[in-house]
Symmetry: C2
Subunit: 124 residues, 2 copies
Amino acid sequence: MKKQALILFAHGARAASWAEPFLRLQKLTQESSPELKVELAFLELMQPQLPEVVKNLVDQSYESITITPIFLGQGGHLIRDLPLMVEEIRQQYPNLQIKQVAAAGEDAGVLHAIRDYCLRSMNP
Amino acid sequence: MKKQALILFAHGARAASWAEPFLRLQKLTQESSPELKVELAFLELMQPQLPEVVKNLVDQSYESITITPIFLGQGGHLIRDLPLMVEEIRQQYPNLQIKQVAAAGEDAGVLHAIRDYCLRSMNP
């Protein structure tokens, strides 16, 4: 069976506090799926960034990578920037299976959870 | 009882596709809570923006507004920009009750739903 990794791909920001939910998400996901390697990679402004994370996974003999954008909406970063980065990775590592899936915010379960949070936030 | 409104506050982007999950979220939230007015407001690049949405609510006699940031992380926009906007709104409408709550991505229920999506995205 191929060694599989999941990369949580997030935007990044100048404020260090911005990374906290993503670090919690990485921990939660890793704990739920100990057999899977779960990494966090940023597009910009924060480290580590995607090319470095992929290189490390390839160096550790991971053969199949899913990149899951932890973005709410599908804007220019996911429509243009990420596919270009994935194409570069494909050219660099032709034997690596690499899959880019839809933004987390496109998922009905995620939207329902945000809806529940919004309604709770009215009356804490 | 005061007329209450909930504003889902999102970033905005150039790509029109970016707004879709937020529009679905607004619809979902409004359907779950028909007695509440649920509005969507953007920080930048998309319309309507926060000052206009608040003005319309005040014009419709809403007296209490909760602003819930539909952001994953707490970066400069939520640490600096939004509190400044809320302060301006407070000065402009001193009788309006206005509350800014934490980013949706800080909520454990939201993070668990994203974790579930990530794990499903590996094996669709």
